[in-house]
C-alpha cells in the first residue's frame, strides 16, 4: 500500500483519483488544489507518490514538480494530463516527473501506471 498525495484544482478529479487509488488498496494522505499547496503538502506528508494536475492556479503542476524534485530528487510524481497537452507532458517529464496518465481517467490505466512507478 502506498501513501498518495493528489493534486488537482477540481474537486471532481481529486475524488475520482481518490476512489481509483483507494480501490487498489492505497491511501490518499493529502490533497492539494494548486501547485503551491502541492509543494507544501509534499513537505508535510512525504508521500510515496504524487498525482499532479498540470493546469492549476497560483503555481502550475510543472512548476510544482520542479520544486519537489529540487527538494527530493527521488520523488515519484505522475502527471495528470489532457489530450493536446503533449508538449507540457514532455516538459514535466524533463522536470523529473516519472510518468503520466491521461484524462478522462481509465481506472485500470491509472492503477497500472501507479504500480509501475512504485515498483
Amino acid at each position: 500500500m502506498a501513501r498518495v498525495l493528489v493534486a488537482d484544482d477540481a474537486s471532481f478529479m481529486r475524488q475520482m483519483i481518490r476512489e481509483i487509488v483507494e480501490s487498489d488498496g492505497h491511501e490518499v494522505v493529502a490533497e492539494a488544489s494548486d501547485g503551491l499547496e502541492a509543494f507544501d503538502e509534499y513537505k508535510r506528508v512525504s508521500p510515496d507518490i504524487v498525482t499532479m494536475d498540470i493546469v492549476m492556479p497560483r503555481r502550475s503542476g510543472i512548476d510544482a514538480v520542479r520544486s519537489i524534485i529540487e527538494m527530493d530528487p527521488d520523488a515519484r510524481v505522475v502527471m495528470c494530463s489532457a489530450l493536446g497537452q503533449e508538449s507540457l507532458v514532455t516538459e514535466a517529464l524533463e522536470a523529473g516527473a516519472r510518468d503520466f496518465i491521461v484524462k478522462p481517467f481509465k481506472p485500470d490505466n491509472v492503477i497500472a501506471t501507479l504500480t509501475k512507478v512504485l515498483a
Partner: protein, 137 residues
Amino acid sequence: MDLGKYRNIFIDEATEHLAEISSSLLRLEKDLGSVEAIDSVFRMAHSIKGMAASLEYDSITEVAHGLEDRMQGIRAAGRVSDADELALLFHGLEALEAMVAAVRAGGDPPPRRAELVSALTGAEASKKKALNPALPS
C-alpha cells in the same frame, strides 16, 4: 464507479466555474488584456472539459475544449483581439451554461453545437457566422 455521484459534483463545480468565467469576461470587457481574467477563463474551461469528458458529455466537452483552445491563442497573443472575439467568448459561456442547466434538469447530455465549436477553434469566417447566423455560408 458511481457516476451519479460525479454528475452532481460536476453540476456544482461547473456552475461555480461558469460564474467565474462570467466575471472574468466582464473584466475583459473593461480591459481586453487582463492577464488574470484570460488565465482564469482558460483554467475554468480546461477544468469543465476534463469533468465533462469523464462523464462522456461530448457536447459539453467539445464547447469547453473550443473555449480552452481559443483562450490559449488569446494567452499567446496577450489580449482579446476585439469586441467580436469577446462576443464569441460570451457565446461559448452561454452555450455551456445552457448545457449544464440541461444536465441539471434532466440528466441527458445536451445536443452538440458544431458551429459554435468551429467558430471557437477555427477561422474568422466561421466566427462571424456564429455571431450572425444570417450571414451566407
